[in-house]
Symmetry: C2
Subunit: 365 residues, 2 copies
Amino acid sequence: MANDTIQRVRTPAADERRFIEEALVAVGAPAGDAGLVAEILLASDLRGIESHGIARLRWFYVDRLRRGTIEAHPHATVLRETPTSLAIDAGNGLGHPASHRAMTRTIAKARESGVCFTTVRNSNHYGIAGYYAMMALPHDMIGISSTDSIHFAVPTFGRDKLLGTNPFAYAIPAGDEPPFVLDFATTTVTYGKLEVYERMGKPLEPGWAVDAEGATTTDATLARHSGALLPLGGYGTDGGGHKGYGLGVLSEILCGVLAGGAFGRGLSLIEGPEHVGGHTGHFFGAIRIDTLRDVADFKADMDAELRTFKSSRPAAGHDRVYVSGEIEHEHEIENAAQGVPHLPKVWDDVDALAAELGIRPMQRL
Amino acid sequence: MANDTIQRVRTPAADERRFIEEALVAVGAPAGDAGLVAEILLASDLRGIESHGIARLRWFYVDRLRRGTIEAHPHATVLRETPTSLAIDAGNGLGHPASHRAMTRTIAKARESGVCFTTVRNSNHYGIAGYYAMMALPHDMIGISSTDSIHFAVPTFGRDKLLGTNPFAYAIPAGDEPPFVLDFATTTVTYGKLEVYERMGKPLEPGWAVDAEGATTTDATLARHSGALLPLGGYGTDGGGHKGYGLGVLSEILCGVLAGGAFGRGLSLIEGPEHVGGHTGHFFGAIRIDTLRDVADFKADMDAELRTFKSSRPAAGHDRVYVSGEIEHEHEIENAAQGVPHLPKVWDDVDALAAELGIRPMQRL
């Protein structure tokens, strides 16, 4: 999120979408797939989650398609299907279209059966977990989404990197209030945060990272180059680190083991040119609210519940209590109106990519 | 958990079960209900979760039945039912039998439909969340359980107590390995931990609690008498406190709002004689593994996944990496063989209760 003071450059949302689509088509992706990636990267940037938007376009998607570690024309297959379940092999294609189609089918099946869970194996990085969970909202369903990821974190009292940032997302509709959207990594912070702190020469907060021996450290350089992240709750068990560790394993069980895909030391995701495709797995769910309660009553009570928190007294030094998804919702409204903001470094990369691929650069506002 | 050095007294598991059952029958509970409470409190003590076992028998169940704030003969009703869902009103009865029956039906429905989610409203304290999730294990299902609770914690950057310890539990079967059982409060610590630290005169860890103004504090007395607990992740957002806060709200949405029961400021649970019954809600789920993957393959891979963590290198100063549920599983084996351990204070309470109710005291080993 834009919690710094660096000036952003803005672009119209429609032009960011156009740019991403053209870039992916230029490296061989079908137009339909490119459009879905564009939609989801744009949604991330609109919601203020800059780390998962266009900033990843080159390194995570364009370059991997060019190198062929992601299949531009994957052969996806259904491994197992019942009225309440779907298990898909994504054929090592782009993660976003595979996931968008998986969640679309999950919702359709939940409409018939009340609930559906879906696994996707042999996929790739899918962007923000929350996007897929939020797809359930217009259907008056609760949406669930998780993905495993490259291993950045140690288990509690361990020193081997065995856990990804493994996010979980839950989206629940309200009435007049914006929906409740909880989308969180099961590590305390992301790897990107270590990079930012190293660049600023700032010590890390305790509970974020360990050194090579698994001992807690606040040295960003040490943590980044020979250490690892810690699970949500921090080092050891005092702050509940074993809970974040358990949630991280839960994600890998659902997205890896249950999906019949890569997991454990076999999940050898690597960033950069050594990246191996198809190791990522996802988990999706949709639950129809009216199978448990009248939807209008539920939404009215959701408004009341969310307002209870929002209208509660802030702590000393703070002026507002937020609920999950509220800040992102406000970013979305602001950025849709004023243009999508990007860091100067991201603009430079996007401009260079445009020149390289021979497509029209993204429009600056 | 028994992470202190106080000497315990042990009792045979069968006699603890007998004692709890007789105590509840003595205050008017039907034998079947009393047996289920006994089964679940005993399971908690066997697993080393002393806070949720017989230690609560008098204050949470016997006294509330005597005062009539919990109905001994509740009239439970089904509010809504589909092949994949069940919504129950527990009629303000004991939480354990209502939850045991709800999870039993959840599993039966999941056997037919592949998956089922169940809400229970107008219930009471149900003990350990993990028990109900674990009921799914012998059926080769993933079990899910959550409950809302008395409000002890503030939202991120807030000062009003609006969140319970709101635990989530997930149980997933393995093959030769013990199952993966993640059962965690969405607060950093429980209220009981503040009491223990106050008694010892020890400062709290940062991230556990706030004072009356919502500012972080390590003063146990201050926190306990005028402050509140913090969500998992601690104060503010640096350690991910907003994630624990979101998980706490998620639990209250599922157990309160979706169940059509009490939530928000209407969830006025109070301990002690002012307790009002029927404000607690629960959420249960069961997912049949074979709807997504062959069970034998899944279990073999679960063994491999759990062993990956267990065989990984421990951090400096530690000799072992555990997985979720492993420590409790080892307690269970030890305590079933050697007798269930209890603190001297708990024994005194149990002996006093025996005399008061005219039932045979629990046997000391």
